[in-house]
Symmetry: D2
Subunit: 364 residues, 4 copies
């Protein structure tokens, strides 16, 4: 009930703290017979790991994953897969000052009040560091989806502050995404974003933005009526990522400005396959995938860690000033991309397995 | 696993179809000792029921709720509460045409493909009619929250198409919300919205918009780390509502245009109580309520039901035309308000009970 | 979290009280495309209903089940099936005396202490009456199992007090079970059991006994490692039935008197099919069905309701006497048979659906 | 859905294989503020570990547990506790023969058929070795129960084959249990049991028996109506332990030989406290603890591993002979005692937390 598990049939249980001995995840529900080794997972972690470029935090973690169970001779056995990543660059700095105050827009205050105790070092459990476990588990989900359905996740930075990518998700050249550290597939705009982020870092400030994700080759039928709609589970997954403040699918908030007659996606028959002419629905109808690409966006706030002096209170409630310093991401967007993809993969893989339960049981 | 249950400690299981004999919900986890009768629930259903005003569908359902279990002499006993609402105005119209085609942007297509069968009448299980069960269950949740914590839900229509309420959530006069059938607390704007909706109906078209919800008197500590963050569960709840396409909390998507130094909510001590000066966080930090009001918004697309001719395909995949007719809501926003409040109440009540499990077990 | 739901993929949520307006169950996870009407369920309820013979309680309930959702034209649609049974013969007797005392070996005491309130009439939620919902849901599970796998449940009374059926489960003539109201497939022994039960009734006393159940045509592979072993879920299901005090599978407690060399079930090849020579395992190995019949036994205590004077305490804790009267079952065994079968069917159907998730996903 | 998690509010997720790199468990739901270090857990593991005496397997594992998360400065923080035990004495023997056949009454056959692959070494996931994770998690549960309620687990060997302890659970001298390696609190009988087990080992054979467990100081009110009855969850817990074949609570199977008038536990007032005169109920009424000691028994079959030649089949189904050799427990009973206690503690701790949710929320 403590909120550390995600998924019903493909389930991930996450554990660990930012500066503890290790972080990890246990994956239940991975089918037997899948080829799986650390090499399948590491590239995903490398895209998320700190210290990968000039625009991310300088904390240096190799994030080497170990598989401790669930495979034999590089093949999954259907039993839980225990993934462990040791923490290495835990700065042995003095946390006594941070223990006494609450950093603005961080979780220090709420953890302290909820539990009466908190792991101060690096934010403990509230740190985005623990999303490494999501990415590791998501790598397995992506392999299952890719192998079974050919499903492909295309995530990228849609905006940093007011620098907005103007290309429609259908027209993205995915090969460009990884060409810059900011993961925006418009190379000119990417340069501008990088400069803007570097400037924010110089100012000790931070920036927010939007990640967009397009998922290709999703079959019709994933998602369940009423509460476990595919978009509902995606929304939960995305709002569970650190610093996220919003989610929209298909036309999203902008779609509220249209009328039904302009917004409806009419069905067409394209070479014998039913499709919709437009995709304002973002790939879902009534909570169930309709075979069109799934397209959604996630808003991330500016990182709350600043190298500035901010007003705050002590744990006794006295007003004081907090002088931020240390390592931080001036903009979480580039590293958020693989996390968004991983969480989406967890949702889809779970619904793919759920779909298998009933499909074709009785002829109709 | 079929997605019809919501909540972990305060759990609702929803059942029923638009034109079946009845719809209902079973509520598990309601504590013993609460005064509860149909009169506590009916006012909430009356706000959601069809036929309540000129801008909603003309289907006439009284939506009279019956409590079949879980109370004795008007007091809850801690056992499941079975809520049943009989369907009355099921139009015995001919569904044979609708059975043969897929209505654009409705769930006909995905249900047919997923299950191989669908309940055609009124959209069956995919109809928003089944949210009556959410509202009935949410009424119980709201009573528990109100009685235990004084928590109050203030939902209202923030926009209809491009008619946007300019008042900040903190400055809303809640007494105005129910004064117009459109549930917008600016009476001049409300009139405009009503006219716009009536015009859409005349044109056989439909409109979308945004519901905003402010929740007052939420204690610090509701929500769990990592996956079951309060905003994650709210996002799931909101995206599970029919026709919703987006969710944002606090500054949301607009917050991505700020910098960390303008966006951070600094802590202050106001007459001995720790608060934040601003509320860009929307009442949550690290997934846990921080004692400030919870403020979020939900985007609803224009109703897909139109009294127009639209292109579509038959269930065999042949292109054809669909001539919409019958009863429908030209804009779901007014009736969405009590549904949004109900779903938010289910989330908060669940997290309130979860909070009670651990709180104060060991002294610190 | 309140314990009213059972199953993961095939899930039943039970509600209702002994003398409330109705009792019922919501079944989630029934696949689409199954022919299903009240006529499929009623015969199972008729075997469980009170008043069916001279050796059961005289409360007269027709237990007519209604399906309120989840089917269209007699075919399941994959959505929740709401089953309702109205209570009819609620004796409007005076419960004021019973409200003041705790009946020995009944749940009055624990419900009162746990909840601070209890539904006194007929035992409220603690009554075995609510197992009618189990039987109705179990009928659907049995239809799915029968249609998909040919699985067949053969439950019968193995003993009443010291009258013990000496026939091995493999040699039972199932056609004899329903020939007597006591449901023991040895007609001579059945007569003795009936007489013994009638004598107990005359004395205002009651008897216990054992139900044995053999499940034929279970495929290899149902059940999960570690915690959700098939026998573990069966044990939970059986111990959840009112008045049950024990469960054993295969050789059970008697098997502890053997040595490994006499107890092990060696594998043989019978006409090309791998079987075990003996079935001390009761059809499970390592928590997973091995293709042999599943054989288990459930112990039921003597009914605690007696037409006798018994010592007890009042709700204030004062010692007093309780004079039992009214309708009761002098022996629950005959009516327990369909309940045991229903609960076993719920377990197997759930594991059958779970089995389908992973089976054959990756070639090996 | 794969069955590797146990508990709802106090939840354990188990992972690992007999001869993998490590085994472990993640504990979710441990409240913040509990003093906890490896020293709290190790003594429980030492009672379960192999190689502890002449009557257990000679596999030598130190079973040193490490806590990787969830505590700071030796205090729990309310976040998941990751427990890891490295495997050390994995015999690098040749498993090629064992890979080709199915050992009788082991899980080789069912795992192979279910998954199409199995971890042959030491039985992989089906090995009782993975119960080390249960014991480690159970140690935390026992600390919570002990500190909060004073609850105490007293498990012991009730019988080995036909050597049966004649002392009633109420009269056990718990200080004698650990005085012999067989964990039977009658020292004379214990000697006989040890000799019997040693003789079985010499013969390459094995023995079964019964563990009895008495739980003192359980408050009234743990357990939930209908499906999550305390005895139902205990039954599931016990039948999930390797080699267990039966469970009974209170009078159990023997109680079926009594009449209601001899079996009912009448209520008395003892010095102002309501108790029952007898405890045939075993501490539960209607699925809820009644404040009397909880007493239950678990049957364990003779270990299936024998140093004998047995008939079996190959994985292709051909009949063959299997020549058992290697290390094994000739009788699992002594090492089963701490496992039974641990699983019971997990059940009770889960229900204790569930109890806290609702208790005292509304005054009555």
């Amino acid at each position: 009930m403590a909120g550390d598990s995600f998924g019903k049939l493909f389930k991930v249980t996450n554990w660990g703290e930012s500066h503890g001995k290790a972080i990890g995840a246990v994956v239940e529900g991975c089918p037997a017979g899948l080829e799986l080794s650390e090499q399948d997972i590491q590239p995903f972690l490398d895209r998320r790991r700190p210290g990968q470029s000039s625009i991310t935090t300088r904390r240096d973690e190799k994030d080497q994953v170990k598989i401790l169970s669930g495979t034999v001779d590089g093949i999954t056995t259907g039993t839980p897969i225990s993934l462990v990543i040791e923490n290495q660059d835990q700065k042995s700095k003095d946390y006594s000052e941070m223990a006494k105050i609450f950093r603005p827009s961080h979780a220090d205050f709420t953890y302290q009040k909820k539990y009466g105790i908190r792991d101060v070092a690096g934010g403990g459990r509230s740190s985005a560091r623990i999303t490494a476990g999501h990415v590791a588990a998501g790598a397995i989900a992506q392999k299952i989806l890719q192998k079974s359905l050919g499903t492909e996740m295309v995530g990228y930075v849609k905006s940093v502050n007011d620098l907005v990518l103007a290309i429609d998700s259908a027209d993205i050249d995915a090969s460009l995404i990884e060409q810059t550290p900011v993961r925006c597939p418009d190379l000119v705009l990417a340069e501008k974003m990088i400069k803007r982020i570097e400037m924010a870092r110089k100012n000790g400030d931070s920036l927010g933005g939007v990640v967009e994700c397009r998922i290709n080759s999703v079959p019709v039928g994933l998602g369940e009526p009423v509460f476990d709609k595919l978009e509902a589970d995606l929304a939960k997954a995305m709002l569970s990522i650190n610093a996220s403040k919003g989610f929209e699918i298909g036309s999203g908030f902008a779609g509220t400005l249209e009328t039904g007659s302009s917004h409806n996606d009419v069905f067409i028959n394209e070479h014998g396959k039913v499709k919709t002419k437009t995709n304002n629905s973002g790939g879902v109808l009534g909570g169930i995938s309709n075979g069109m690409p799934i397209v959604f966006r996630v808003a991330f706030k500016p990182t709350p860690t600043l190298i500035k002096t901010q007003q705050t209170v002590t744990i006794e409630g006295q007003e004081t000033e907090f002088h931020g310093r240390g390592r931080h991401d001036p903009c979480v967007l580039p590293r958020a991309v693989p996390i968004v993809e991983a969480m989406a993969a967890l949702v889809l893989c779970d619904h793919f397995l759920r779909f298998r339960v009933y499909k074709g049981l009785f002829d109709l």
